[in-house]
Amino acid sequence: MNEIEAAIAWLNDPLNWSGKGGILALTGEHLVMTLQAVLLASVVALPLGVVLGHSRRAARLGTSTVVLTNVTRALPTFALLTIFASTGVGFGNTPTVYAAAIFALPVILANTYEGVRSVDADIRDAATGIGMSGPRVLLQVELPLALPLITSGLRTAVVQVIATIPLAALVGGGGLGIIITQGFGTQRYGQVLAGGVIVALLCLVVEGLLALGQRLLTPAPVRALQGS
């Protein structure tokens, strides 16, 4: 097919890889933006989720986080992106990072909350019974047991943000989306195809690496617990 040849030709051109607007630089920019967005979301969502999940009294607040997650699902990322980009939030990549962070937040929050909350009540009782204080129960019992869910929330958030950031190219931001929008602008569909493949590959590779990392980092006993 014509487009496939054009895409391969485009990918084979070393000029498209190096330099300021090259694939490598754009991928780097993409990943930096992703990291910023996820960090920003984590700083808010992780402590909040832990506190909500730990405290018995906050149970009602906790269910409202689930509602929040569902509402943000109905709000298109693109809408938030255009709103941020056309207000004083900033130029270029800043509005995108904020918008992506807002979308990553409920994912991390919901998983952290669910992870800490769903720790077996017997285990928690046993920990209190042997004289552990509240903070110690949290740090030494609840958090290690909640870790698999928390990390899978972070994983989902990272991949989701990587998938969202290409939209930034439409509203004046950077990242790998630029390859696609430029291709459409100049009607070079081989380039569009190549850009799509690069973004898709990046998502799959990062997802694979994170899954591997999660497996390696999960303590063996917890892994065995999950397996059973």
Binding site: F78, A79, S86
Partner: protein, 238 residues
């Protein structure tokens, strides 16, 4: 900056904050542009409903098949997982050069993502059917297909409805990504509002998107209550 004071008001800059009034909410805008807004809204609605309908028609048999032959279920779930990881934007970019039809490309992407959610939920629902119920049916002499259609699928209905609600809400949001190839329903309005710095246009389209998503969700919730009266009875009996 030596900008000419008498610049024509029609010049569209990247950012023109000196515009006299640029409210986020403007009923005037909605009235003056109702034709256009309704056209994009219609585009958005038909695209969403069509995608959900096609996805539903494909997903249920697929999930039933995977349930009947469990050997099929593993690869099916794995494939859907990988496909779901691919961003919609990348999918549009990969598919459009071949199809060269904006609407079909967006529809294809929407169907695919809705399909993934629906297959997974239906499969979970089918697996979650109480073994005592299927045992009883088997004891009554139900065959595999009769069991599927009269026992398992009706019992999986709540899970299917949940999947349907999830899929339609995310489809409404996903349509806007079609802007990338110039066919994004209300997203098109948002994008135009962004390029011309017209706040009311962006906000109107955003609110309509939200309203559309929540309306469809509510309608499906009510439909779900209507078609599964037994689940309500079970809850109130408890």
């Amino acid at each position: 900056m030596p900008a000419p004071v008498s610049a024509p008001p029609g010049t569209v800059g990247q950012m023109t904050p000196e515009q006299p009034a640029n409210p986020w909410l403007s009923w005037q805008y909605v009235q003056d542009n109702s034709d256009e807004i309704l056209r994009y809204l219609g585009e958005h609605v038909t695209l969403t409903l069509q995608a959900i309908a096609i996805a539903l028609v494909v997903a249920i048999p697929l999930a039933a098949l995977a349930h009947a032959w469990p050997r099929l279920a593993g690869p099916l779930v794995a494939t859907t997982g990988v496909l779901y990881t691919i961003p919609s934007l990348a999918l549009f970019a990969v598919v459009y050069p071949f199809i060269r039809d904006r609407r079909t490309t967006v529809l294809l992407g929407l169907v695919l993502y809705a399909l993934l959610l629906l297959v997974r939920n239906t499969l979970v629902g089918l697996r979650g059917v109480d073994p005592a119920v299927t045992d009883a049916a088997r004891g009554l002499g139900y065959g595999r297909w009769r069991m599927l259609f009269t026992v398992e699928l009706p019992n999986a209905l709540p899970a299917v409805i949940t999947g349907l609600r999830l899929a339609s809400v995310s489809t409404v949001a996903l349509v806007t990504v079609g802007v990338v190839i110039g066919y994004g329903g209300l997203g098109q309005l948002m994008f135009r509002g962004f390029t011309s710095g017209y706040h009311a246009q962006i906000m109107t389209a955003t609110l309509l998107c939200l309203a559309l998503g929540l309306t469809i969700d509510l309608v499906l919730y009510l439909v779900g209550r209507l078609v599964t009266p037994w689940s309500r009875a079970a809850v109130s009996a408890r």
